[in-house]
């Protein structure tokens, strides 16, 4: 017999039931509170925008993954947001164009895509993040990495590691130090990203081969990168990475993968990926960038907490107090005010334990159910 519920929701969309909803709700609040404590103000963009408005701040691939539909009111094409970063950029560039910089904003909300990657079939994801608008230097990068770590810790992540990358590495080196024909740049970048030494040589990037070995734990990897950078084109970037690592290194394990590019197509000099113990895949990424359609710089990160929450140990059942028929209302109000969760009897003969209760109100006292 087939499960009658399997066809109730489209593939990749699901209900979060009580335990899972409680866990993600708790993680989300804690992460938002952490961002708030670092001075990031929350903004809430809408679920739906003009497709063009979302698209012109994103790459073409991403827009094809959005749910799109015609607006009967304007007859223009709308889209369900697949990423909130572009919405934050729009807000910074329009409604908050005149707000003092640096501008610290944060957000949390559901996003949806038509199809997801094969490793993760989900089509709806809770995205949460922070943007430091008007700054993309070392201090901004160090702050944003720290806030990302603190937000993840608050959400329950343990043994966090942060992988740094230099998204414009090839462009920087190709200018002078390891010159490339402009036609070769894309291919070299791609093969470095794919870590394919043979293809890298074939693409004319033999000189870039040593970069593949400048990856791993931060201290050793950055030393190797310095050796490669004999001409000093990367000197300021290397110093920047060292300064960031020095500021956040005691809160997370830092690694370097300078040629990592996937997911950082729109970052400028600095990018980072977040991992945590027991969570498969990345928990989020961030970096420095230029806000789409503007000249303004920013540094930010996005987190996806669903994977994290799935890895967290189940919380113990909470104490819950059964209030029998005829209980004193004032007593119940007082107990809720000091933190009790209550379940009120509707009729005789209920089984408080089956209803999740751990205690029962008897003579004005909470008595543990046996």
């Amino acid at each position: 017999m087939t499960d009658p519920t399997t066809d109730l929701l489209p593939v990749g969309l699901e209900d979060r039931l009580q335990k899972s909803a409680a866990a993600i709700s708790r993680a989300r609040r804690a992460a938002l509170d952490a961002m708030d404590s670092y001075g990031y103000d929350r903004v809430m963009p809408p679920l739906i925008e003009f497709e063009r408005s979302l698209a012109e701040r994103m790459d073409g691939v991403a827009t094809r993954r959005m749910f799109r539909f015609v607006d009967p009111a304007s007859l223009r094409m709308l889209a369900l947001r697949s990423d909130m970063t572009v919405q934050l950029g729009r807000i910074a560039a329009t409604s908050l164009a005149d707000a003092p910089r640096p501008l610290r904003l944060c957000y949390a909300g559901e996003t949806a895509t038509i199809s997801s990657d094969q490793l993760d079939p989900s089509r709806q994801r809770l995205q949460l993040g922070a943007e430091l608008v008007g700054a993309d230097g070392v201090a901004a990068a160090a702050e944003v990495v720290m806030v990302a770590i603190v937000a993840l810790e608050a959400a329950g992540a343990t043994a966090i590691s942060v992988d740094f990358t230099l998204p414009d590495l090839v462009d920087t080196l190709a200018q002078d130090e390891l010159p490339l024909d402009p036609a070769q740049v894309d291919a070299v970048r791609r093969e470095l990203d794919g870590k394919d030494a043979g293809a890298l040589k074939a693409a004319g990037g033999a000189a870039y081969l040593p970069l593949l070995y400048a990856a791993g734990p931060f201290d050793e990897a950055i030393a190797r990168l310095s050796e490669i950078d004999a001409g000093g084109a990367l000197a300021s970037r290397i110093d920047g990475l060292k300064a960031i690592a020095a500021k956040v290194g005691d809160r997370a394990r830092i690694t370097l993968d300078p040629t990592e590019r996937h997911g950082f197509e729109y970052q400028s000099w600095f990018g980072f990926t977040l991992y945590a113990d027991g969570v498969r895949g990345t928990l989020g990424r961030g970096g420095t960038y230029r806000i789409g359609g503007t000249e303004e710089v920013a540094t930010g990160f996005s987190l996806y907490l669903d994977a994290l929450v799935g890895s967290l140990a189940a919380q113990p059942a909470r104490d819950t107090l059964y209030l029998p028929l005829g209980h004193d209302i004032a007593t119940a109000d007082r107990l809720r005010a000091i933190g009790w969760r209550t379940v009120t009897a509707l009729e005789e003969g209920e089984d408080p334990t089956a209803l999740g209760c751990t205690h029962r109100l008897e003579g004005g006292e909470a008595v543990r159910l046996s």
Copy 2:
């Protein structure tokens, strides 16, 4: 010159900027915590479902107001949720079909409609509510009204009033006490709802005229309703309303409008509408009903907090501590841990006040900025 930002978002969709986002976020958390304290477990249904699944649990009018689109994966029609109550009903009837009853669930999330009514052009609304599944008696109704009031109070509403109605009033009276031809029932119901005495007579409902005067403050209105109900067909309903009013009457002003029907088409014997001081229109409604597609009864309510939050006084600016360059990290961590909100200096020459700071860290102490 036109405002360049006005065309950035489709009509009826807007950004909630810092103050408004903080206010609604605070109200939402407080309302969710209030529902939780009464034993309601949160569930999170997805933004999108099969249109048919949402539609078969709603009336046809409502489904025409949903944003709909074809799912490239299934080639079936999907819809963006316009109401979460139907999603809760689906969950109760499927995944949680075997959970013990009464089942207490709550929810909060964004919903969207293609077009809204003319009084309120917004096409996205934060819906928040609770469902008591498996019970629709007086005890259930009293609990649900109380939880709605407590949730609204927690969200910041003051001088809450609750308007009771009897959605199946005409059907009940028409059976015997004030007999109507089956063909007349709909018209009588409609004219009573419209409070149009002339049309009511014309529709053959002259005997129902006195009901129009059984509205107002609860005690007087229910006394008049009892007088009208000489045959006693409404006796159990009247007793039920009195019992509910007795339980919640010291937390809110109670009124009765027994013929109010609009918005209660799918409620059974009991419905209620919520109002608060300074908020135009309703803040929410609820009542007893049968879960669509099932035989199971339930009692619940939905709140829409946007209107409330717009009416709340602005919160005072929060204390925020500026951390100058070179500040002690451990001190900053300690101050955040005890509740300080901080803004970290990125460079010399920033204006802490312009960045929203009220204090500055000097020699390990928070000093108020003058």
